[in-house]
């Protein structure tokens, strides 16, 4: 009897295996580690279980930079995955290389999947699009920098979360210092205090429509009075004990907030899931990124950060069909809501956002809505995104110069002159690669 059972199950396994042979298999290289990686695997499993024709295998490739480099090397060797996750700073590289990817809009339409760019929330719609507004990469983990705060600390100091930087430096920070807290820390100077500083204040970040019109002749516009005034203020806050900087690493700046030393932390809306799961010893909440009232009276939406999924070129029609099917699954409100709920990344479609609202997600966790609300603020002339080549290196230059400002090794004026010169040299070099 036992033997018969074994034989039967072996036969069953063999049948499953042969059924699996007929499935079209596709691979997905991503940079989501830890708890995020678990959620990615969950999405892949759900997709595989939802139908019998396709099977997707997610592979974790390290950091964003490592994933992009691995994808590029694989593409050059003809071994590219079907789907590659590319982060915001790598967008110009991958979108500039026409022929490396199949625009997601074409992929979906060619495979009979309905596509309407208006279904996507306004903040994510055009970041990974070309200059004609055609969507090239499918926004996946979309986030924006928001302001987290320690509710207990602010109550103790008798202040409310600051709306403007003026309020922060005159009211909030001194009161917090009095109450024994360091007012502020942040986790990504180029992303939060540079890129999104420009979108929040609707300042042009680069010529050629923030670089969307092509690499040729694009120049960075970071060396402006508003930016210089901001960094002068930040250095001043640091000297006064209102602000602290713990190095270039992300978590080095997040940890003091979690430990309750720092009262306000600027991080990613995608950090929400992690913070909630950490069981912090205080109550925390979040709100919009502050702005300088002296620069603008009408603050605008911020850029999306995070990454998008690109369908790599050079794959068979069958596999592309599988990729399209997966993207269709991924953009379903149910999938998006699950991803949003588990991680804190914003839902990319209006339908998913409505579903989260209807489910009462934001009644339970109001802070979870801040990212998407901020991305849905009024758009300005310069808020759809930016497109600059060799941008990873440009960010490295910014990190270096900002670090030097904050450790007193250089002046704000010199630092911004350096950033401008080096970034423009890199942009010019990138333009030469695009022939």
């Amino acid at each position: 009897m036992q033997k018969f059972k074994l034989g039967a199950s072996a036969a069953a396994i063999a049948m499953v295996a042969s059924a699996a042979m007929a499935e079209v298999e596709i691979t997905w290289w991503h940079a989501m580690g830890g708890a995020l990686g678990d959620t990615v695997n969950q999405i892949a499993e759900d997709f595989n279980a939802s139908q019998d024709d396709y099977k997707i295998t997610p592979v974790f490739k390290g950091t964003y930079e490592e994933t992009l480099t691995a994808g590029i090397a694989a593409f050059r060797a003809g071994e590219q995955p079907n789907i590659l996750q590319v982060f915001d700073a790598g967008a110009a590289t991958v979108i500039g290389a026409k022929g490396a990817t199949v625009p997601v809009q074409d992929l979906l339409q060619d495979n009979g999947v309905e596509f309407n760019i208006e279904d996507y929330i306004s903040g994510v719609r055009y970041f990974y699009a070309d200059s004609d507004g055609k969507m090239i990469g499918m926004p996946f983990n979309s986030s924006s920098p928001i302001m987290y705060y320690n509710v207990d600390a602010l109550e103790k100091a008798g202040v409310t979360p600051p709306k403007t930087w003026e309020e922060f430096q005159t009211v909030t920070a001194p009161a917090l210092k009095e109450a024994g807290y360091i007012g502020l820390s942040q986790s990504h100077l180029p992303w939060i205090f540079t890129e999104n500083f420009h979108s929040r204040h609707d300042l042009p970040f680069a010529t050629n429509d923030n670089g969307y019109e092509g690499a040729e002749g694009t120049k960075i516009l970071v060396n402006n009075d508003a930016m210089k005034a901001h960094f002068t203020a930040v250095k001043d806050w640091k000297d006064k004990g209102f602000f602290e900087w713990y190095g270039t690493g992300w978590s080095d700046n997040q940890t003091p907030f979690e430990e309750g030393k720092v009262a306000i932390w600027l991080g990613s809306s995608g950090s929400f899931g992690g913070l909630s799961k950490k069981d912090l010893p205080f109550e925390f909440s979040a709100t919009f990124l502050p702005y300088w009232e002296s620069v603008t009276k009408e603050p605008k939406q911020t850029f999306i950060g995070g990454a998008a999924l690109f369908a790599m070129a050079g794959k068979s029609d069958e596999e592309n069909k599988a990729t399209a099917a997966f993207f269709e699954f991924l953009t379903k409100p149910e999938t998006q809501y699950m991803w949003h709920r588990e991680t804190g990344y914003v839902p990319i479609t209006t339908a998913a956002y409505e579903m989260a609202k209807a489910d009462g997600h934001y009644d339970r966790a109001p802070a979870a809505e801040v990212g998407i609300k901020q991305l849905s603020l009024p758009a300005g002339k310069h808020t759809k995104g930016y497109r600059m080549g060799f941008y990873v290196q440009i960010r490295d230059v910014m990190n270096r110069e900002y670090g030097r400002i904050l450790t007193g090794e250089t002046s704000v004026e010199d630092a911004f002159n350096n950033i401008e010169t080096e970034a423009n040299a890199l942009l010019e070099r990138f333009a030469k690669t695009q022939n």
């Binding site: 050059r76 290389a97 026409k98 270039t248």
Partner: protein, 293 residues
């Protein structure tokens, strides 16, 4: 005297082939490729590439940041090489005199050799952790507000300490075996001539250790220039920012993080030339003064 020789011409060539093929495929071919890419600016995905002549090199020479990284690399290499050699020599001389428990003592000193550079870097991160690192606290107790990853000099100090700590055991093993191969008769003769221990060391032991020392000097310079990569990468957490880095790490940052293949290749070529010059210099000038038995 009869000379052994090959009767067929092809046989020695055939026997050398595996080695030659390995060298050609793994060393010359990539090196040639790097030289070629250094004259182009290339789209990362390999679609477009523009011949730019010597522009990549000119950009390097005109880049103040690159020159200061080169300068840091020189200081770092000198410090790491000097400290790892001198500390290891001191330990070896002392260990050579230990009679009781000598084996345990030596084994303990060699242990760190087994630690991989990234692991060494990680241990460094823990020891110098900003809020609770034991070495950070030690520095604070003497009034040095040590900040790893924030202050350039503090990070550089930590990198040097970790790199030296990782390299001392290797040097120790070599120095110890070098010391033990000095004939007893020579030492005893010296003991009669000179009663001062330090005098004997500088006049007799040190010159006899020179071949070992020369070999270690080359390996230590190579170590400081190239093998400290793992230590640096771990200690800056992959994000150099305003932290110090060496030329090799810069090649990685621009090539593998930034996907600037042309610029990164030019930097590799500069390094190749540097190593070549260093090797020629060492063998021409230093080797002449050293006598192997």
């Amino acid at each position: 005297m009869k000379r052994a020789g090959f009767t067929a011409r092809w046989l020695p060539i055939l026997l050398l082939m595996p080695q030659l093929v390995i060298i050609a495929v793994f060393f010359y071919w990539p090196a040639a490729h790097a030289v070629q890419s250094s004259f182009f600016l290339q789209d990362p995905f390999g679609f477009g590439s523009t011949f730019v002549g010597l522009d990549n090199y000119k950009d390097l020479a005109g880049n103040g940041e690159y020159l200061s990284i080169a300068w840091f690399t020189v200081i770092f290499t000198v410090l790491v090489t000097f400290l790892s050699l001198s500390i290891a020599l001191l330990l070896a001389v002392k260990a050579d005199n230990v009679l009781r428990g000598a084996k345990t003592y030596r084994t303990l000193l060699m242990w760190v050799y087994a630690v991989a550079p990234p692991v060494a870097g990680f241990i460094g991160l823990i020891m110098f952790h900003q809020s609770w690192g034991p070495l950070t606290e030690l520095a604070r107790s003497i009034g040095w507000d040590f900040k790893l990853g924030v202050n350039f000099n503090d990070t550089a100090t930590a990198m040097v300490i970790v790199s030296v700590w990782k390299q001392v055991p290797v040097n120790f093993i070599f120095f110890l075996s070098g010391l033990q191969s000095i004939p007893k008769s020579v030492r005893e003769a010296a003991l009669i001539d000179n009663r001062s221990a330090s005098g004997r060391f500088w006049d007799v032991t040190f010159p006899l250790l020179a071949p070992t020392g020369f070999f270690l000097l080359i390996t230590n310079i190579t170590y400081s220039l190239f093998d400290t990569f793992g230590v640096i990468d771990t200690m800056v957490k992959g994000e150099p920012g305003n932290n110090p880095m060496t030329l090799v790490y810069k090649v990685y940052v621009d090539g593998f993080r930034g996907n600037d293949l042309g610029g990164s290749s030019a930097q590799s070529v500069v390094l190749m030339v540097l190593v070549l010059a260093l090797t020629v210099f060492q063998f021409r000038l230093v080797e002449r003064r050293i006598h192997y038995t």
